[in-house]
Symmetry: C2
Subunit: 763 residues, 2 copies
């Protein structure tokens, strides 16, 4: 078996971190995602399958992505013995996620308890070509025996979200010759889901049977296994939900959905597994052609970046503006499928520069969920749009209000983020601004962006409090990005982003393309004037070059953070929650985030001073921290630190040490890693569609190559230790004409166009 260390993520041993591998081996297409669970069952197996945006809430619980009936389930019995890797002996084993093809493979050479040896090969994909299709193929070769191979393939609705059942079975039966289907309806929202699975076998079929149980449909098959002969089962699964009809403006109809699902499945069956797989691979090839980022450096670095890109592509809703990328994508139950600031600040940039149409959809999600944000503001006594810290389908706040129990008080610890971690609204405005700078998409601004920015500004104007003693506007009682600190006043990060948000809103008020929006919501020049005043007088606490994370941070107790940093939990054991709240220790980048988001707004001296002050105080107890530190370290010319933080970030999901991705991938970190390479090592920044490049590759990388889109221009960027080449990529003949793009490298400014389509700069 050939593995490519720059493309293939490998599990070499059957082991106990099954949850971790289930997450990192997730296959998805932005519509449907399935964790990398085994076909056969084991204790602790979590076979999550989720449809983007299909949320449901159990009584007394917050809404969550509902785990769909399990389509993977296939139990094998080989000549009377259950195929079970916890029994017998594993002679050969690997699992490999082939990032290039979007395929998960497993190979096992297994000696049964009675000593019979079988070879088994499993192959699986979730089609990126046809978002409703998922498929698996199982090959079994009895190596040294002949005997009946019994296959039980299932659509299993007896799954839950950690014990929470979301679906009732509505109907289950068969179709065609070897098809089974299951129709489920969610309890709360009454979403209908139809799943249809067809089967094809190779081998001598002895018997076939259907069976059903509570919320289950089984197809079972007996093959006369002959020594040395390959037996095959292929399973093609089609999934539709009533949200698809809703997307098309149709009424919910079980009959319509059922026909559509079976029709889709029968077409896929007619074409066959191999043909569907070929289409899927071709679609991935196209995506990689655009999105790949190659480097000449350690294989692991290359693999980690591709792993990030791969999973971000899998998480992205490619057609649906009603959903966005959640904190775990479609890879697990962690954070219940909710959307955080992670999306706009960590994940969006990749799409913004590579798939701007997809970035646009993600921002349209915020527009789509404005009603929830308007409700949240109202419920909290404010005006305008206050976005949810955790957002699901409607945009209403879905952050749980309590979390783990504090065993000293015996009460659950309140989770305050939903109430007071408010920077999300300004983060969204920042992302819209970023999107406009890169794409220049005025149509988006007019139809979606202006609503969000203006209504958000109205919220901030109602939120700030005037301090007459200081003649300043304050935002008291918030949580900033550093979640160790609750109930702080004037978090610098928050206030700075609010300032930028208000200034952007003020600009839009004089933009003719936003006129209609402003009129619709009744915005006045008066109101805009207030924004300008607030922006001008908003409190931004600092001492000299040092930005103060919030009022009073500099007065907090200093503690020796570094001794706890690399051993999770030790800080919490040494200090109580209240003490941590009162000490100069950060969970994650806070002021540092700002240096990343607004690199032109601070002097090199300011940046350095703040780095020196905050970096040693940061625990990186959040997966959002390391990559951001890498970008800022690159900016500061701290090449070794930049690379060290890149390495740290690259190992959050993919490293062999942590293995803590059981509840899902750390999507923000995946996005952050891409930013560490592109914003950090390549020094890419775009303002008003002018590309600025400032490369500083890690010592052990000799080259970095990737594509970007700025405005409507596609660019190829190749950076080495000595030089950078930027080239216009000729547009698809059928596409729009290539436009000019302005590029700055160091102090040099070049305009690329048809006449001069590339530039090489040495440094």
């Amino acid at each position: 078996m050939h593995f490519d260390p720059r493309w293939d993520v490998i599990e070499e041993q059957y082991g106990r971190n099954s949850g971790h591998y289930e997450s990192i081996f997730t296959l998805a297409n932005g519509y449907l995602g399935t964790r990398g669970a085994t076909e056969e069952g084991y204790w602790g197996r979590v076979s999550g399958t989720y449809l983007a945006g299909l949320f449901d809430a159990a009584p007394r619980e917050v809404t969550e992505l509902a785990n769909l009936p399990d389509w993977l389930s296939v139990e094998l019995n080989l000549a009377g013995e259950a195929f079970d890797l916890t029994t017998g002996e594993i002679l050969d084993y690997f699992r490999v996620l082939r990032l290039k093809d979007g395929v998960l493979e497993r190979f096992v050479r297994w000696k049964s308890p009675r000593g019979r040896i079988s070879q088994l090969r499993f192959l699986r994909f979730v089609s990126i070509y046809d978002q409703h299709l998922a498929a698996l193929r199982i090959e079994v070769i009895p190596e040294d025996y002949s005997g009946t191979i019994h296959v039980r393939s299932r659509l299993d609705g007896q799954v839950t979200n950690s014990g929470t059942q979301h679906f009732a079975a509505v109907e289950a039966s068969t179709f065609g010759e070897r098809g089974i289907y299951l129709i489920s309806e969610s309890y709360e929202q009454r979403h209908l889901v139809v799943q249809a699975a067809s089967h094809r076998a190779e081998g001598e079929i002895l018997r076939e049977e259907f069976a059903n149980g509570p919320r289950r449909m089984d197809y079972s098959l007996e093959l006369a296994g002959q020594e040395g002969v390959t037996n095959v089962l292929e399973k093609l699964v089609t999934t539709f939900s009533s949200r698809d009809l809703e997307f098309e403006g149709r009424q919910k109809s079980q009959e319509m959905l059922f026909r559509r699902t079976v029709k889709g499945n029968r077409e896929a069956e007619r074409e066959g597994f191999a043909s569907q797989l070929a289409k899927h691979r071709e679609a991935w090839a196209k995506l990689w052609n655009k999105a790949d980022l190659t480097l000449d450096g350690p294989d692991f670095d290359q693999l980690a970046l591709r792993f990030s890109i791969f999973h971000m592509i899998q998480m992205a809703p490619w057609q649906d503006h009603r959903v966005s990328v959640s904190a775990k994508g479609l890879s697990g139950e962690g954070y219940r499928g909710h959307v955080f600031w992670d999306t706009e600040i960590f994940i969006l940039p990749f799409f913004l520069y590579v798939f701007p149409e997809e970035a646009r959809l993600q921002l349209r999600y915020r527009h789509h969920t404005l009603p929830g944000a308007l409700r949240k503001a109202k419920e909290n006594g404010y005006e305008g749009a206050m976005f949810a810290w955790e957002s699901a389908d409607t945009g209403d706040e879905t952050t749980p209000t309590v979390g783990a129990i504090d065993f000293r008080t015996k009460k659950p610890i309140p989770i305050l983020c939903g109430e007071i971690e408010q920077h999300i609204t300004a983060d969204i405005a920042y992302a819209i601004s970023h999107y406009l700078h890169v794409t220049g998409d005025r149509e988006f601004l007019q139809n979606y962006g202006a609503d969000v920015v203006l209504l958000g500004a109205r919220f901030w104007a109602s939120r700030v409090e005037y301090n007459s003693a200081l003649d300043s506007y304050e935002i008291r009682n918030v949580i900033g990005p550093d979640e160790y600190k609750e109930h702080v006043d004037n978090n610098y990060y928050t206030n700075f982003l609010v300032q930028k948000h208000l200034l952007l809103a003020q600009e839009l008020m004089v933009d003719p393309q936003c006129r209609q929006t402003a009129d619709y919501w009744g915005f006045t020049a008066e109101e805009a004037k207030k924004w300008a005043e607030v922006a001008q007088k908003i409190r931004l606490p600092r001492q000299g070059d040092l930005l103060e994370q919030f009022d009073g941070f500099f007065e907090l107790n200093a503690i020796d953070v570094l001794q706890y940093r690399d051993t999770p939990g030790t800080l919490q054991r040494a200090y109580g929650w209240r003490e941590i709240n009162q000490a100069q220790v950060l969970k994650q980048a806070d002021v540092i985030m700002l240096l990343h988001l607004f690199p032109d707004e601070f002097t090199p001296e300011e940046k350095r001073a703040n780095w020196d002050f905050y970096e040693p105080k940061t625990m990186h107890d959040s997966s959002l921290s390391a990559a951001m530190h890498s970008v800022v370290a690159s900016d500061l010319g701290l090449s070794q630190e930049a690379y060290a933080y890149f390495e740290k970030a690259s190992r959050i999901d993919l490293g062999n040490a942590l293995m803590n991705s059981g509840h899902g991938l750390h999507a923000a970190s995946l996005g952050g890693l891409w930013q560490a390479a592109v914003h950090g090592f390549a020094g890419v920044r775009v303002k008003d569609q002018v590309l600025k490049l400032n490369p500083r590759l890690p010592e052990n990388w000799s080259e970095l190559k990737f594509n970007l889109q700025v405005g409507t221009s596609l660019l190829r960027i190749e950076v080495t230790q000595e030089q950078a080449v930027i080239a216009l990529i000729p547009a698809d003949p059928s596409g729009e004409a290539v436009q000019a793009v302005q590029v700055r490298i160091g102090d040099e400014v070049v305009i690329l166009n048809q006449d001069c389509d590339s530039v090489r700069v040495c440094y």
Copy 2:
């Protein structure tokens, strides 16, 4: 380790029939039952814990006994390796259910994957002394190493009924030093359940911690395991539900329930595990003193009878008239905890003769659920009380309306029992009559029995149809005991029981003690006259000595049943459902049931003719069949057949072959086995409190001894191949005075009293 083959049920090998052993190793006290799941988790583990009568229904599903949060869960990590029997090597192993003590033990000598050997001993009981208490004790001895023993003990609410979640977590926290609790509320009925677990450890404690997750509370403990030293964890668990408050006529109160649970648990903790275990053992000793049945014969026969008695005692609600014994007791999800005719006809007799107070409670359950029976009659267009085929908490019909899918039509097969298997109402009247014959309990009749019998008779009078051509009353379109036959007219069994029911009701109408009841419900002499007429003219189809199972049975096709009988599924494969419905093949005893229930109503010739006709046509495709055939064979003097059927029945749950009790014990068969011994081999029958004995022991049994209660007299019965001894057991000095009892053996009649307190009869 010493095992007693007449008391101990042993699993000798760690194996794959975990569900089967979980059922047969169920521990219960009639209030709370817990399946014999392992403490640590494995794929397929079903750790059901149920409270009698605590039902809940998911949307679109029938109400079911809701699976409580798992109190058994304890995960062990031994010097860095998870204790997991699917890994490493098992050097020694057994599990044993000690019927005498009501204790489940497990011993494992286990070599970890890294080669470290540990001895582990698990002991568990569900207190029969304190129905709210359950407990387990774990001992770990590191045999050849020293290293940290990490114990994670849990109250785990992430359990479901095959994927159906019934409980939301209301509150979870800690109490005392090492106590954890979980408060849950069921979704539909809003039953509150409070579970509190305290812990005690022996060993060097390194660290203790609490943790919580969704619907989970954990206590975790690290012990410094020393080579050769025994480490211990004891876990005492107390459970209360809001049904307890309801029973006392109190309002639901979370606070009250919580206090009661914690108080109960702390008291148990103060007394300690050993003391609680001693009380439990003592309570079992008392129960066995009354209920044991000993035989001089094969150990397995002895064990099987004790196994039956043990589990029947465990299933019985000892204090609560609102619940009865369900088809699976508290041992699994099969039949969803519903109560069938199994209770009155198969299970009740054991209690009737041994624990009449308990039998009374079971019959009171039917009185308690009269409102549901009245509703069912009304909904079906009848009068009076029509009892549910499957009954849960309210007495409303809870039989599912569809079952497995017929893959020819692709539609689910309708389950018609809830609608047309109607004999249950007459079965209940039969059981009341039986109860009155044995106990002479007039108070029961007046307060409970009369309501049930009279309202049931009113139902039958509205149910029958008059056939003027034959001048007979008919009951058309029913299912009799033989469930292979649907939509039959005039099932002999049903009609015969209806006749008896109506005659009993007619009697009660002239019984002064039932006057008040009759007046209350407005029964008139007119109505009673109608009952007499119906009883007289009810159609009972027969040809000579042969009773016809239903109209037209004798015209059905004969098929060779015997060739399919011992290979389940083959009949169904050879014939379609419709053909089986049209053939002379029985799923289970039908006419034969009648011969058992009314042994005096048929001549020996009639019995023999019907046996010869029906027995070879019966598949015994129901666990209700074999034991009944044993009783009737005894009555017919077919000693070999009687013993063969006894053997068959004794292996339904306990045999090594079938292993099909995964969804729960076959309670009816357990009760049937006791009847096969007492009604069959000993030939015990009681009419008007006169005991009749007609012993015919199996060849290989030399003696059978047991106790019975007739009226208020306790009797000791000892039967051998040659003689029988019946003796009055002196009453507890504090109890009622011993009364006289009349005994018939063969043609001899004896009166036992203080003067002559025993009789020996040789034959």
